[in-house]
């Protein structure tokens, strides 16, 4: 009887009505929308300064801890009367953080310079990550102001990271390869099976489906973008095959793929604004 009492509550009917309306909104917004609406843009932009500030503080704290460690080490070295080594050790520690950053940026720059005629690239810094566990996304510190539009591919020198799914004035959201809604046309680099689709499985791993049953695919084989989806240029490394399985219907194989990019350690990324192999994402309007 207690169960039926709930139907007499006004709040229950209001919630039910709200849920039904929202379900319709979910269905509508689940279809590919052209971008963020003004409310979404406003909410996203309200967080951007705070997230940039936090990123700046995190960098500062990293440098401070390096300095603190340096001071601690120096006192140990003083005890052993190695004055010259102390100074060098301290300097090395103080420089290590910035050196690591310079290295990362240099790799991005080298990669960018190595492809002057193929990709038009834009480097961006990661300022935040998804606020929930369902979505696998990153927020970068560049947006429409820098000519970024929906569906542009995002890479690092190690391989494919994902694509832009939301772009506001000063920030953009990158959907990672590991997101459950992600699917990329892929080709096995050695066996040349080109009908595969790599999809995210949510736990940091990828799965390649649609591999023909007769394929000679083996563990360790590189998987690269096929270019068939037209969003991604062909030949970008996605990862390497880890484990091959036969699907229940026996007609196709699937393979778990270890991503080439370590998504947990990403700090900067490159966005491909255009590439010559096909029409740029901006031209496709998707």
């Amino acid at each position: 009887m207690g169960l039926f009492r709930i139907f007499r509550q006004k709040g229950f009917w209001i919630l039910l009505l709200t849920a039904l309306v929202l379900l319709a909104v979910v269905k509508l917004s689940a279809d590919d929308s052209p971008g963020l609406n003004s409310a979404e843009r406003w909410v996203r932009n309200s967080y951007a300064p705070l997230q940039r500030g936090t990123d700046w503080i995190q960098q500062g704290l990293g440098q401070l801890s390096t300095r603190m460690l340096g001071i601690q080490d120096m006192s140990q070295l003083l005890a052993t009367e190695q004055a010259k080594n102390q100074q060098l050790g301290l300097e090395v520690m103080q420089l290590r953080e910035s050196q690591a950053e310079v290295e990362r940026l240099r790799r991005l720059l080298d990669y960018k310079n190595a492809q002057p005629n193929s990709y038009e690239l834009e480097a961006a810094r990661i300022i935040a990550r998804a606020s929930n566990n369902w979505y696998k996304t990153l927020t970068i510190d560049k947006g429409a102001d820098f000519g970024l539009v929906l569906n542009m591919p995002v890479i690092t020198p190690d391989g494919l990271v994902g694509k832009l799914v939301n772009v506001s004035k000063g920030t953009a959201q990158v959907m990672l390869l590991t997101d459950r809604e992600m699917a990329v046309g892929a080709i096995l680099q050695q066996t040349r099976e080109n009908r595969g689709i790599v999809e995210g499985v949510g736990n940091g791993q990828l799965r390649m489906i649609n591999i023909p049953y007769y394929s000679q695919v083996q563990g360790g084989e590189p998987v690269v973008t096929s270019g068939l989806s037209q969003i991604y240029p062909p030949g970008i490394l996605i990862g390497t095959v880890r484990d091959v399985q036969k699907e229940a219907n026996g007609l196709v194989l699937s393979a778990y793929v270890a991503p080439a990019v370590d998504f947990d350690r990403l700090e900067e990324v490159l966005i491909i604004k255009s590439f010559p192999a096909g029409p740029s994402p901006a031209d496709q309007g998707v």
Binding site: L15, L23, Y47, T54, S131, Y135, R180, N203
Partner: protein, 167 residues
């Protein structure tokens, strides 16, 4: 003052989830501070008010995420409505009430998110990764909920969250 705090808390929760807690994840999973807040609000204010607050907080999160608008609004609204039934039936000052509420709410919210997301992701199945995420989120939520519930309880009785508090 109370209303202002209740508006600021969801804003702060999303900010912390996307920055600070992303630096200290457990198995890649971060706590759902917003859900914890909604559950506490529902336990102290009942089903109807809880559901309204849940829908509002969820909608704010959906706008921030910019993907499927309404998913979190529905899941958090219904979760709050169910857990709001605890009000009047339990001794709210008991920490265990808050923790049981958080565990139950985490499971209900995850189930609802999964069901609603099937609308957008064809072929989405309940796999080991999803269950592992749920397990670690439950653990992380409990860890965070202990100090938060103590604060929330105190604030609701004699602090900034006390009903009628005009500050």
């Amino acid at each position: 003052m109370r209303s202002l705090i209740l508006v600021l808390l969801p804003f702060l929760a999303i900010f912390l989830q996307s920055t600070l807690f992303r630096a200290i994840p457990i198995q890649g999973v971060v706590p759902d501070l917003l859900l914890i807040l909604v559950i506490f609000y529902a336990v102290f204010n009942g089903s109807s008010k809880g559901a309204m607050y849940g829908v509002a907080c969820g909608l704010w999160e959906d706008l921030y995420l910019g993907r499927m608008i309404g998913v979190n609004a529905i899941s958090k609204g219904i979760t709050a409505f169910i857990l709001g039934r605890m009000q009047g039936n339990v001794y709210q000052d008991n920490l265990m009430v808050g923790l049981i509420g958080v565990v139950t709410g985490t499971v209900i919210n995850a189930m609802l998110l999964f069901i609603i997301s099937m609308v957008a992701i064809p072929g989405l199945g309940l796999d080991r990764a999803l269950l592992a995420d749920l397990l670690f989120q439950g653990i992380y939520n409990i860890v965070i909920a202990i100090p938060l519930y103590m604060w929330y309880c105190r604030s609701s009785r004699a602090g900034v969250l006390r009903e009628g508090q005009s500050g």
